[in-house]
């Protein structure tokens, strides 16, 4: 069984078209929007700020709290019941783990940095889009970071290794599909998110990780541009 050409005509190592913008939610301390294909994520950062209840506080450093949520109308099928699900809880958790390594919260004992990710529209790759948006929003909020974080999904459909699977590829009827979301710190190429479901051989996985890292470097350029553009918007 072969997957000769991608359904939307992209190259095997090409991501869907990406749009990124920083500073889109004025009430937040930092915010960003990241759109990849038809998957669209907003992230807002509030913090460092007061943390209640007290038992959650860490006297040595601030804590990071992430919440990933899909808006009820964001799925291509039926309405998504608000209030989160086990899936969204898990995604919130791995998102936090993907972002924490770049943050230095030593200067904010007993406080919290809250990251809220909301998706008005999803079509595969939503947790990666959320992480890309969140990383820009954290930088926008002026927090101390070692690096940004870029995320993309890689995977296998039939016999082809691909970057940025869309919905039709994730649910390819053949059955031999592997979906692997990863997150990368672009300046050190270290990996902060790695999940997989499907079937894949180790050599294929290692090749996919290389492809994913490369795609993330392109995403990094887009994130940098979006951050710098926010401050050039003023027309004098």
């Amino acid at each position: 069984m072969t997957y000769k050409q991608r359904i939307d005509g992209r190259g095997f190592d090409e991501t869907r078209p990406i749009e990124a913008k920083v500073g889109v939610i004025q009430r937040a301390d930092g915010s960003a929007m990241f759109k990849i294909g038809n998957t669209w994520a907003y992230a807002a950062v509030y913090g460092p700020r007061n943390l209640h209840p007290k038992f959650l506080q860490d006297p040595q450093k601030g804590i990071l709290r992430c919440n990933y949520n899909m808006m009820p109308f964001s799925s291509s099928g039926e309405r998504v019941r608000p209030g989160g699900s086990r899936r969204s809880k898990e995604i919130s958790f791995v998102t936090e783990k993907a972002l924490l390594p770049v943050l230095n919260l030593d200067e904010y004992p007993n406080s919290v940095v809250d990251v809220f990710i909301e998706l008005p529209q999803t079509e595969a790759g939503s947790r990666c889009a959320g992480i890309c948006a969140a990383s820009m929003a954290l930088a926008d909020a002026g927090l101390e970071m070692k690096d940004l974080v870029c995320a993309v999904s890689v995977g296998k459909v039939a016999d082809k290794l691909l970057v940025d699977l869309d919905y039709s590829e994730e649910s390819y009827p053949d059955g031999h599909v592997a979906d692997i979301p990863i997150a990368v710190m672009p300046n050190s190429e270290k990996i902060t998110l790695l999940q997989m479901d499907g079937e894949v051989k180790k050599e294929e996985l290692m090749k996919l990780l290389e492809m994913g890292k490369k795609a993330c470097m392109d995403i990094y350029e887009i994130q940098k541009k979006a951050l710098k553009e926010k401050y050039h918007e003023v027309d004098v």
């Binding site: 301390d29 770049v102 002026g142 401050y231």
Partner: protein
């Protein structure tokens, strides 16, 4: 020989390499890792001699000793007040630091400063756990009555104040308002309604254009143009 990778006044993102080489020094907002000088946060690269620092463009206020800030009273206790400093941490002000008047023990402290009051105070101490002590004993430190309070990005405060207060003085004179600028991003303005608006709009303009050059001239022009319109 060192290689500086960014231009002066270029916006840098966290993790970006600002310079490579051993004879460049990292200033505030940057750090050295091996041969490289790296940005710690989002900021404006500023090259001064052999030092590269990053001027922060965003971020909430971090309380510092000796800062003069505007706080809001959020709790009144037996011996003092708890204050909102517009940061992640609240401040405590004890009776003895509140005023040069004598306050008897057991007095009702709300007579002096009540819930919701805004005061100008000075930070005397910040511990490693970010416990903050403030005092109101000092010139210019007082309760603010009347007028209105706006919130600006605390990173823009230096620009709003200007060199030796030149910018804020220019606004005070042109808009005929009393203005107190807190290092924590809260600003108090008092004057005739339309004049207050002029002062606020000028401050908002400085906030938006703080990283561009020629700002003083632009604000001067803005004040002249809009000041006339209101007469």
């Amino acid at each position: 020989m060192s290689n500086i990778m960014v231009k002066d006044k270029e916006i840098s993102v966290p993790g970006e390499t600002l310079a490579v080489g051993m004879d460049v020094l990292p200033g505030i907002g940057a750090y050295r890792e091996g041969e490289k000088i790296i940005a710690k946060r989002l900021g404006l690269a500023s090259i001064e001699g052999r030092t590269i620092k990053l001027i922060p463009l965003s971020g909430r206020y971090t309380p510092k000793t000796y800062d003069t800030i505007i706080c809001k009273v959020i709790d009144v206790g037996f011996n003092g007040w708890r204050l909102d400093t517009n940061s992640a941490y609240s401040a405590m002000m004890s009776m003895k630091d509140a005023t040069s008047e004598f306050i008897a023990r057991g007095a009702n402290l709300t007579q002096y400063y009540d819930l919701g009051d805004h005061i100008v105070c000075k930070i005397v101490n910040v511990t490693s756990q970010k416990l903050i002590d403030v005092t109101m004993k000092g010139p210019g430190l007082r309760k603010l009555k009347g007028g209105r309070i706006i919130e600006v990005d605390p990173n823009k405060v230096p620009r709003i104040i200007g060199k030796q207060g030149s910018m804020v003085t220019m606004i005070k004179d042109a808009a005929k308002c009393n203005i107190v600028v807190g290092q924590n991003g809260l600003i108090w303005i008092e004057g005739e309604p339309l004049n207050e608006l002029l002062a606020i709009q000028s401050i908002r303009k400085i906030e938006k254009e703080s990283h561009l050059s020629g700002l003083t001239e632009k604000i001067k022009e803005y004040l002249e143009k809009n000041g006339k319109a209101k007469e």
